[in-house]
Symmetry: C2
Subunit: 346 residues, 2 copies
């Protein structure tokens, strides 16, 4: 079947749908019962299983679990249960499997093993009839609607918000959570600035993304979007890890995309920005007005959003950047070379 | 003080010392008592804290814990305890802090908090008088001797072997473990082949490393060595994650370094190699004779080494590659730009 869509039409539509997806999630009643089941189980630890974009949502959830629930958390290496057949003792362990399609065979095996080994299993997917949703004891639907572009956008922020609503349910909801869709719409409205910025990277071969704390998953996801759609080498580093070796790759030829928000994660980037600028780097920052002013350029985030919610917003300019950079480089981000929408790894 | 050393002399010496470091570890009696303390504590979970190269040793230990000890394991995000001040409930949790210098302030805070929160803390360092060694309940000395080159080599394989000896102590030692130093010497003896290969990448701007399972930390560490010493963008992907997006960056311009060993991890790479070759990639493989034959080139590993021990050996050709590539590109891997030996992140 020949497509008659304009390049990037799918990805562009799905990026713009995000505030509406968040409204659906904020109106959903699925979180109370699921949070109740988790509370009754009284987990001592949380284990997160995911791949690709969903792995960045898992990393975000890891910070929430450690900081808000004050439980140790870890990311599953699925191969230990698939390739090596490990049967870890998972009593008192909450295992969250996160997947847009709910169809990845290695996640399925991980959740099946986890359930058999005593864990409480929760699947977070965009497909209530998926095998992953059926295998898990609890299913959370991220309600993003059909996602057709190969590069995931709306399912990612839907995963973040769904995980936030699930894991912080007992705290009640702040006014800022309810305001997220409107804040998202305003941020998306700065697209022309991002589009201009995309021209700047048209001939870049490689770039680095960096952030700390809650925003580190944003740096990871921004790098993945750029690789998927624009075929450049984009590497994400926590601001701390960047100082442990990879700083050597930074020079005037390697643009840096940074996230420097309001909270402790942004503050911990304070020592990183000057060293990047000393190294001659071109730094594009999504964050506070102060951090943007200290950088080569950037997009200012709305003020007053708690740091643990900020990742839902701060990825938006990077999604737009990936789209416009792909188009500027002559590609079509809706159909990246070499990729399929559902990736089956064993 | 002016140095009169030849470029790469420090790194070259330290690479070649590795078999002797392993002999010291194999002769050390520190593991029995430490393993006993861990067994008596009866951990339900293992949490690993590290940065940079040591983080790759931590990732290796994560596979050992999950597959051999059959306990869930996770990597600590130090910022949750430093930047966010989280106080997670760590009763029944074994926390391993891994650091060459034992001087990184964020690891120190993580281990102090962990101990106060009920964890059994074990420091694995190359410096018995370091603060990390003193703060932890148990200290394992990796006995690598002073490491002067900025790019860590001997302390990395010493960490791997020390973690192996600690975590598998109850199983007793196989003949292969005792043979490791000799196998390492033979593998290091193929340096001329690696040196030739280094010429091939002299003008490369970016490359990708890949592996699965126990060898995935090798891919990560190989990428870090290349970044630290040769300033190219080297990205590591698990073979599974590579299929979820980053495959799009692979073409004839992006060399791939793969590890494809004998066990399940190597077998799981079976589907990955053909897709890389289809994408036009130049693939250099460290692994079995069969995998090397299917690649553009490579180094064959000794046969019959159990997969969980193989990481100690398989990083050696990549260390040599990083050294020779740095020299070929006109650099000095003993003094990479922008880096210091001990990195202090908070």
């Amino acid at each position: 079947m020949t497509t008659t869509r304009a390049p990037a039409e799918l990805m562009s539509t799905e990026i713009s749908e995000q505030p509406d997806v968040w409204r659906r999630l904020l109106g959903s009643e699925q979180f109370a019962a699921a949070a109740q089941q988790i509370a009754e189980y009284r987990p001592r630890m949380v284990w997160l299983a995911a791949r690709g974009t969903s792995d960045h949502a898992a990393l975000y959830a890891k910070y929430l679990v450690e900081v808000v629930l004050e439980l140790p958390a870890g990311l599953v290496s699925p191969s230990t249960m698939t390739a090596y057949g490990a049967k870890p003792d998972l009593r008192d362990v909450l295992v969250l499997g996160i997947s847009q399609s709910g169809g990845s065979p290695d996640l399925l095996t991980s959740l099946e093993v986890a359930r058999a080994q005593g864990a409480l299993t929760v699947a977070v997917t965009n497909n209530a009839s998926s095998t992953l949703a059926q295998v898990a004891a609890v299913h959370i639907d991220v309600l993003a609607g059909p996602e057709l572009a190969v590069a995931a956008t709306k399912s990612y922020t839907a995963q973040l918000l769904a995980l936030y609503l699930l894991l912080t349910h007992s705290r009640g909801r702040s006014a800022t959570v309810e305001a997220l869709p409107e804040l998202g719409e305003r941020l998306l409205g700065q697209e022309h600035q991002v589009q201009e910025q995309a021209q700047r990277y048209r001939f870049a071969q490689r770039l680095v993304t960096t952030a700390r704390g809650y925003s580190y998953p944003t740096a990871r996801e921004a790098a993945l979007k750029l690789m998927e759609t624009s075929y450049l080498s984009a590497q994400a580093f926590s601001g701390a890890d960047l100082m442990h070796g990879p700083l050597a790759v930074i020079d005037a030829q390697v643009p840096v995309l940074a996230v420097v928000g309001e909270g402790p994660g942004g503050a911990a980037m304070g020592a990183v920005l000057p060293r990047l600028i000393d190294a001659g780097a071109d730094v594009f920052t999504v964050g506070t007005a102060e951090a943007v002013a200290r950088s080569t350029g950037g997009i200012v985030l709305p003020r007053g959003v708690p740091e643990e919610l900020s990742p839902v917003l701060e990825i938006l300019p990077f999604q737009q950047l990936a789209l416009h950079l792909a188009v500027a480089r002559g590609g079509n981000p809706d159909e990246p070379r070499g990729l399929r929408k559902v990736t089956e790894t064993l």
